[in-house]
């Protein structure tokens, strides 16, 4: 039964490439439509956030990095690396509980492959991510931090995308039945932001805390992305391999659960 749900889900995704593309573009447009700056927000929004966090954690509460021998610009780049990963994940997850609920006509009125909603949302979010990543790379190049390890970045980023997608499927299905999901998720995401090595280096923590914080789904990609982009080192391949496995499993589970629960959508929407 579960296998059937998973296979049917994959087949639907493969069959509806046009629709996925359409919905990703629409999703992106819907975020920027009728705004004065339009796509300019893709660039501006992360920069404003970066300015705030750099000021707070570089000047107001100097973090471990800021107090060591880094310059302000370097600190900003380190911060930005973690921040854009978090932004991508948190946006995808925060939107997910309402993905299906906000489209009642796709549930009850037309024959629609609902599983593409999560994928389209994640894809649209990754456009924002790649815009930020491009800015980061420009900043790094400007700071003279260009490494050959940059080519490993996709290997580091892809599993986070899979994980986010899996969580999206899970939450968008559960969100139909449990409407308080949105409230809970806001708090969980804030927890993930501060309990990940975004504002502080991992090695500033005690070994016990380090081990604990590894369970944050963002820790491994953040550390690994910093390794390949900023420090020019090869990240821990063991951790990365485990992370890939877990992310793929979560994505498969998400799709399976989503398709298993969808029979009940029409009864409550």
């Amino acid at each position: 039964m579960a296998i059937h749900f998973f296979v049917a889900g994959l087949r639907n995704l493969a069959r509806h490439k046009t629709l996925i593309k359409q919905f990703s573009i629409r999703d992106l447009q819907a975020r920027t439509r009728a705004t004065f700056l339009g796509l300019g927000w893709l660039i501006l929004a992360p920069l404003i956030l970066l300015a705030i966090y750099t000021t707070v954690f570089g000047q107001v509460f100097p973090s471990r990095w800021a107090s060591s021998h880094q310059t302000n610009a370097e600190f900003a780049l380190i911060l930005f690396t973690g921040l854009i990963l978090f932004q991508f994940f948190s946006e995808a997850v925060a939107r997910s509980p309402s993905l299906v609920v906000s489209q009642p006509s796709y549930v009850t009125k037309v024959v629609f492959p609902l599983e593409i909603l999560a994928l389209a949302s994640a894809l649209a979010g990754s456009v924002q991510f790649f815009a930020s990543l491009a800015m980061l790379c420009i900043g790094l190049a400007w700071a003279g931090l260009v490494h050959w390890t940059w080519i490993l970045a996709p290997v580091v980023i892809a599993p986070l995308f899979l994980l986010a997608l899996g969580v999206c499927w899970l939450l968008s299905a559960l969100g139909v039945f449990v409407r308080d999901m949105a409230q809970v998720i806001g708090m969980v995401l804030t927890g993930l932001l501060f309990l990940s090595p975004i504002f502080y280096p991992l090695d500033a923590l005690t070994p016990a805390l380090q081990a604990a914080i590894l369970w944050n789904p963002l820790t491994i990609p953040i550390e690994a992305l910093r390794d390949v982009l900023i420090w020019g080192r090869i990240p821990s391949l063991n951790l990365l391999a485990v992370y890939w496995l877990v992310a793929a499993a979560v994505a498969a589970l998400g799709l399976t659960v989503f398709n298993g629960l969808r029979q009940g959508f029409a009864d409550v929407i």
């Binding site: 509806h16 046009t18 629709l19 359409q22 919905f23 629409r26 447009q29 819907a30 439509r33 006509s105 796709y106 009850t108 009125k109 037309v110 024959v111 629609f112 559960l174 139909v176 039945f177 449990v178 409407r179 298993g260 629960l261 029979q263 009940g264 029409a266 009864d267 409550v268």
Partner: protein, 450 residues
């Protein structure tokens, strides 16, 4: 019939739909986890044990009162609802003309929604590009509006665009709710022609209607649903007769009788206003200009002695084939007593009778479409229907007028109680009509002539 040797395109076996009512959404989730061990819902069976096989080219009509399960059945047939019991097999692309425009995103432009909606219906980018111009021109939308968000559209524009998209996918099976046309005025006629062209191309059509007359006119099989159960199934005349009977019985029980026929929404159904609506701003349609009922002596007919004459004046704008006229005599309980249709009797309303103009109906039936006869019936015309020595028995009767397309299916206008008359009788026969009869003396069988 020959096509029965083919595989059915729609086959349903013991199809049923149960709605589960949950007090809270989370109960639905618990139910999925619990499976069959415990039930947390109140159940309502909207449909039970429906079996059908529809073959390519057939038209299935579904009749029944509101809430009988017609819409549920249609939704099951087009796949928007999963059946609770039974199995459904469909073979081919289904286009649902239910809830037109349901997939639209109001913030996006008409153009965006064409692409979005058509890809939901299963077209890829290239196919939509090919059909784009056709969709826009069929919808009749102003090019200015195509780039505007659809939230700025009137409901008529919304439906027109949605219909144009839904029918652009070249479906094999068409699922239609209520009416054989959508929109208003001119578009109503064009959408009807489009649907009929699908029928002529041998596509399968499933539709539900309150217009029993339409069900009889175009369906190969019919189903009467009552409270979710199949009450009758089979040949349309049989099913419609049983259903009409049931309606009549119900009507006689209630104070306010339920009319068996419903207007198509384009005509004013106000009995006091037989004239065409003055605020009709759309393109001109064939209209009833005047109705004159001439019944015996000042509206009183002596049964079997006086004639009933109904004169109907019609205007027909250029571009339309000459319409046909239906006249129905209804009794005080609004039950249809008898009728005559110019299309049934092969009478053309065209004043300037040309050879072949009587054949318009057949030509259209062969797929030529309305365009071929464009202009054939333009102008003003009138016709008089005569029932000589009307043999209805005493009572008060009304005349309903239908103005129909040349095929006699699409209703341009339905005027209820366009006129009325009274019948008196000087004998004691009972019933509604005195049929011609004679008596033979003797009594047993065929023995002795009178």
């Amino acid at each position: 019939m020959s096509y029965k040797t083919q595989e059915p395109v729609v086959q349903a076996t013991s199809l049923g739909k149960r709605y589960e009512l949950y007090a809270r959404p989370i109960d639905r989730l618990k139910q999925i986890v619990l499976g069959k061990r415990q039930t947390l819902f109140k159940e309502i069976w909207a449909l039970r044990n429906v079996n059908l096989s529809v073959y390519p080219g057939e038209v299935l009509g579904i009749v029944g009162k509101n809430g009988a399960g017609k819409s549920t059945l249609l939704q099951l047939l087009c796949g928007t609802l999963p059946p609770t019991t039974g199995q459904l097999k469909t073979n081919g692309r289904v286009a649902a003309l239910l809830e037109l425009g349901a997939g639209f995103n109001p913030e996006f432009s008409g153009r965006d929604n064409i692409y979005l909606n058509a890809s939901i219906l299963g077209l890829d980018r290239r196919q939509i590009d090919e059909r784009y111009d056709e969709i826009v021109s069929f919808s009749g939308l102003d090019p200015v509006f195509i780039e505007q968000p659809v939230k700025t559209y009137s409901s008529g524009m919304y439906v027109r665009l949605a219909f144009a998209i839904a029918t652009s996918v070249e479906p094999d099976i068409l699922v239609i709710d209520e009416a054989l046309s959508v929109g208003d005025g001119d578009f109503s006629r064009r959408s009807f022609d489009k649907i009929m062209s699908f029928k002529d191309q041998g596509k399968t059509i499933l539709f539900c209607s309150h217009a029993l007359y339409q069900v009889e006119a175009i369906c190969n099989q019919a189903i009467w649903l009552h409270q979710g159960q199949v009450q009758a199934q089979g040949s349309p005349p049989d099913v419609v007769a049983q259903y009409a009977d049931f309606l009549a019985r119900e009507a006689s029980l209630s104070v306010r009788p339920a009319p068996g026929l419903k207007t198509q929404g384009i005509a004013a159904s106000d009995p006091a206003a037989p004239a065409p609506p003055a605020n009709d701003l759309g393109p001109a349609l064939p209209r009833v200009r005047k109705v004159e009922v001439q019944a015996g002596n000042e509206g009183l007919i002596r049964s079997g002695k006086d004639d009933l004459r109904v004169t109907v004046g019609v205007t027909c704008p250029p571009g339309y084939a000459a319409p046909s006229v239906g006249v129905v005599v209804v009794d005080e309980g609004l039950k249809n007593i008898c009728s005559a249709g110019s299309h049934i009797d092969g009478v053309s309303l065209n004043t300037a009778v040309e050879p072949g103009s009587l054949m318009t109906g057949q030509h259209a039936g062969a797929g030529a479409g309305a365009g071929a006869q464009a202009g054939a019936g333009a102008g003003a015309m009138a016709t008089t229907l005569v029932w000589p020595k009307l043999s209805l028995l005493k009572g008060k009767y009304h005349i309903d007028i239908y103005l129909l397309c040349e095929r006699g299916i699409h209703v341009y206008e339905h005027i209820r109680q366009a006129g009325s008359f009274q019948v008196s009788q000087d004998h004691l026969e009972v019933g509604v009509v005195s049929l011609s009869h004679y008596w033979r003396s003797g009594g047993h069988g065929s023995g002795h002539e009178a």
